[in-house]
Amino acid sequence: MMQPVIACHECDLLQQVKPLPPKSTARCVRCGALLYVHTPDTIDRSLAFAITGLVLMLIANIYPFLSLESQGATLETTLITGTLILARQSPIGLAFLVLLTSMLVPCILMGALVVVLGSIKWGQRLPACRRIFRLALALRPWSMTEVFMLGILVSVVKLAKMATIIPGTALFAFLGLVFVLAAINTVLDPHTVWEKMVP
């Protein structure tokens, strides 16, 4: 059962929860903040996107990411290469931040969703689910795959005059992942998940 009243998380105003037509969002009447969304089958859809994302992440880490061809020599890089080289050249914290925002957080986020949404879907109540879902929600702003993608674009333009750059399979998997994570952000309604998790 839905709570009849909720408070806006940005201005604290109490508001009635009304049933929404599908694919619409409710905004706060006073400050305009997003209150809740209504996605049909939010659990099923988010779960499907999270599993897709994890598969794409696996592909993105197995295959070559970008290759650089210069003076007849080809140099292949994988997704993790940048982090490893950065770890040698600058404080380890920086490399860790890059690893965290481009790979670890998206992985933890999607893994957490699979556990939480899966346990709701198949009726298995795991005790740690509430803590896991809370972690997933807190991590959301730190997932920056789309910013990383733009960074790749900028670097490729910068290097285009120096050498030939060949995109690898992993690059396309990573591009797909950007869209999958955006989709998760749109279809996932935390309110519905909380209501279903703890009735």
Partner: protein, 213 residues
């Protein structure tokens, strides 16, 4: 005061309710201030408002302002090509793209690395000053400004990622290399500090000031 603003009785805090930061459950506040309260649904700590929101946000904003100086003065990349060494700061990178005709890229880097961090620091400082002065000026617009600040902050990480991809790709050794400069460390610190600052600021303070007038 705006006529459309409803009275104070309609906020959760005014009704003695606490809105859980994490799951949004409304909990009746049965304990006095200072006692630890946990959400019965998600077990997160409950607070009527984010604790010490203003002092924490000021500390983070001031730290970010200090780090912003070395982030822009120190080189972010050091390029060695045929025996010559070139150190690039963020701004010299932008100028490089402008000179080579990549205007789009130059604008993207300029906005993400220079405009967005400064705008975030100015907006957050402005919001905090307005809250401290208990301003009732355009609360809805200030709330929107806060949301915008929260949403765009992550894009400042762009330059950190560019440096990461560059050092990964250019490590041939015999002709040219690109190394990460110390500027990028300070720059990453500015991005992280401003992101946390946006999170510790409680936008409800904008509306609280309005109600108590």
């Amino acid at each position: 005061m705006m006529p459309s603003v409803p009275g104070s009785a309609q906020t959760a805090a005014a009704k003695g309710l606490v809105n859980c930061h994490s799951c949004g459950l409304l909990v009746r506040r049965a304990f006095p201030d200072g006692q630890r309260l946990y959400c019965p649904r998600c077990h997160a700590r409950l607070h009527t408002r984010k604790p010490n929101s203003l002092s924490r946000t000021w500390a983070l904003v001031i730290a970010a302002m200090i780090f912003y100086v070395p982030a822009n003065l120190l080189p972010v990349t050091v390029t060695r090509y045929l025996g010559s060494t070139q150190a690039d700061t963020i701004m010299s990178g932008v100028i490089y793209f402008m000179q080579t005709g990549s205007w789009g890229i130059a604008v993207i880097i300029f906005v993400a690395s220079i405009v967005v961090p400064i705008a975030k620091l100015v907006v957050l400082s402005g919001l905090m000053i307005s809250v401290q002065r208990r301003s009732s000026w355009r609360p809805r617009e200030r709330a929107q400004l806060y949301r915008l600040t929260e949403a765009i902050g992550r894009w400042s990480m762009l330059d950190v990622f560019v440096v990461t991809v560059l050092v990964a790709l250019v490590r041939l050794g015999y002709l040219s290399t690109i190394e990460a400069g110390p500027g990028v460390v300070y720059f990453a610190a500015v991005v992280v500090l401003t992101m946390i600052a946006a999170m510790t600021f409680d936008p409800r303070l904008i509306w609280d000031a309005l109600e108590k007038k």
